[in-house]
Symmetry: C2
Subunit: 375 residues, 2 copies
């Protein structure tokens, strides 16, 4: 059986490209992970997600533990079989979403108790229970249970929260045990304060993980502050392990993160945008509900090879969005996920060929050529 491993194949400045090997297949890095919250990437069939170039999906522990339930998914053979996706799955720990979605939360040293936002039922999440749930789901990459304050927050609050997360990281590590072929990632916290990030990186490295996430970003601090942290934080983590930036982001966020040494990212943005009529393209965003598209025979992007751009005009996409037809979300999500994966492939190639800086200039130049909607 293949064990979990990571090999870097090239670096270009701080940017890196490589391969994470798992028993369920390889993950080319830098990798973008589409989000399959409730055991489905919304509006997409798994085959279609794979066709966009995705090597790995993200599943949400919080949602799945509430509905349909982790024990139920385990009885049914695990999350991969349940949702018909046989490649790698990363699951978050549930911590972040408990804090953002659940009701009547109560945080203690032990963990968090809360009520479900779906039916009000009472639940508890601890490092130990999060490890158990992620094992029941059959996740390939398991995340430590952590806690994360919304930014801005003062250093005292950030430091206390980070230190709690580090104690939980040790408990997560202990509870995870030894599971060949499965990986456990630690999550660095510390907000936008460099010495707290350093303290967190040190604590995680001492415990030892198969990969390291930069947590606590994309929570309201803005791109400039995020890049400020990414200018130093990745270098605090072991070079030979994957680095994962959680919950990011827009295309230019992703490019800026890879430039600064990030290997993995996830975000609901391409799929959520697709369901609300927003398309992401090389030349900027297209809001398909605008009346100017009603008679436009052109595809979203004439140079895009996705099924949406190959088969449908902006006029059609405008029509089906206005008519509230399901195919609207299906086609726009497919395009958006395809575009995101195209960015990742472009970056992987550029890093491998030592031309990431030129690639980045070209990426921004195309976006600045003007609003694609007005061309």
């Amino acid at each position: 059986m293949t064990r979990f491993s990571f090999s870097l194949t090239a670096t270009d400045g701080a940017a890196r490209t490589g391969v994470i090997s798992t028993p369920r297949g390889d993950i080319r890095t830098p990798a973008f992970m589409p989000v399959g919250t409730a055991a489905t990437v919304k509006a997409m069939m798994p085959d279609s997600v794979r066709a966009t170039g995705a090597d790995i999906l993200l599943g949400n522990t919080y949602h799945l533990m509430l509905r349909p339930g982790a024990e139920r998914i385990a009885r049914l053979g695990g999350l991969h079989k349940f949702m018909n996706w046989d490649r790698p799955i990363l699951t978050d720990s549930g911590g972040f979403q408990v804090m953002s979605l659940a009701e009547l939360r109560k945080l203690t040293e032990k963990g968090v108790t809360f009520r479900s936002h779906i039916d009000g039922s009472k639940h508890e999440l601890t490092p130990e229970r999060s490890m158990e749930i992620q094992k029941l789901l059959g996740s390939d990459i398991v995340m430590c249970f952590d806690e994360c304050p919304a930014l801005p927050a003062d250093d005292k609050r950030v430091a206390e929260s980070m230190r709690l997360s580090m104690r939980w990281a040790q408990r997560s590590r202990d509870a995870f045990g030894d599971r060949p072929g499965h990986a456990l990632f630690g999550i660095m916290q510390g907000g936008v304060t460099e010495h707290l990030r350093a303290e967190s990186a040190e604590a995680l490295t001492v415990i030892g993980f198969d990969g390291y996430a930069v947590g606590g970003l994309a929570v309201g601090e803005g791109q400039e502050a995020m890049f400020g942290v990414l200018d130093y934080a990745p270098a605090m983590l072991p070079t030979d392990k994957p680095r994962y930036l959680m919950g990011v982001g827009k295309p230019d966020d992703i490019v800026g993160a890879v430039k600064r040494g990030i290997d993995m990212m996830d975000c609901v943005l391409p799929s959520r945008s697709g369901r609300t009529g927003q398309a992401w393209t090389r030349r900027g965003q297209v809001n398909i509900k605008n009346a100017r598209h009603a008679d436009d025979p052109r595809p979203l992007d004439e140079d895009c090879s996705c099924p949406t751009c190959q088969g449908y005009s902006r006029a059609y996409l405008h029509h089906v969005f206005r008519a509230q037809e399901m195919i609207s979300g299906m086609l726009l999500t497919w395009h958006n996920l395809h575009y995101y994966q195209e960015i990742m492939q472009g970056m992987r190639d550029a890093i491998a060929q030592g031309r990431f800086a030129d690639w980045e200039v070209d990426f921004h130049r195309q976006r600045e050529m003007g609003d694609i909607e007005k061309l």
Copy 2:
């Protein structure tokens, strides 16, 4: 260029199998046409509709004329290009849906004026305008503009309506003109009254059409009354032209219609059911929202080869329906359309091999083996 033609290859009792040839491809009969009301078969990609075995789709003139508009679709290259379906399309005349959906309808000898149910805008449909719209859409099989009373209705009302439809059939024929490769179908009316059906068939045959629909059924009369009409009506129509039963139906309606000499049918049922959690299978209906499916690892139908049954458990389908995920409608619609096309293929093979009666016995026997949900 291929002209529109129909050739019967076998008959078995009143049941027939054959091929309708068009410049856009062959239609194997008996044929079931999925409904693509607003230029999309709801929840399906066109490739997926084709993969179920559909040779032809139905488009709704009433919906398309209101949104996005027939002239707009023509400017964009026609309905096939607009919706990315290059095989044959049949369009209805708009008459039936004006009567069931539009507001402030006013019926005269000339036609119908009405207000859109979408935005209240004022429109007129006449035989001439219906022919023009269907030409703008680029429909391969065009339906005569007709009028149809809801049943039950007295013979006087049915007769007057039928005779108006016959005058409109002549005007439709005149307005359609000569369009090689495109077909115009007449629509028989007359309710459940045999001599009115005979009068209608005679009027249509004198005018002469490329195919003949049995209209005015599936409007509330019930299966027994519908089969009563189908016991004599198809035989009143020319043997060498396709016979189309509009808006039918459930699987057993379809089998009973083919048994009585029908070649083509359409219905929203398999796609609409799919979006409301209803699956049709060889062994009866499955209501996927029932709690009994929550832990069921079996597919909807263990002998079904559709992607839904090959990849997903009832437990998964139950979960995504409850979570209101789009993939619920996508998977159930795919299964239902696949099952409908499987029935059609089964009937075509059975008729070709002279064993339709045995096939029909087996069809009913499987359904009567009991509620699939309780197995």
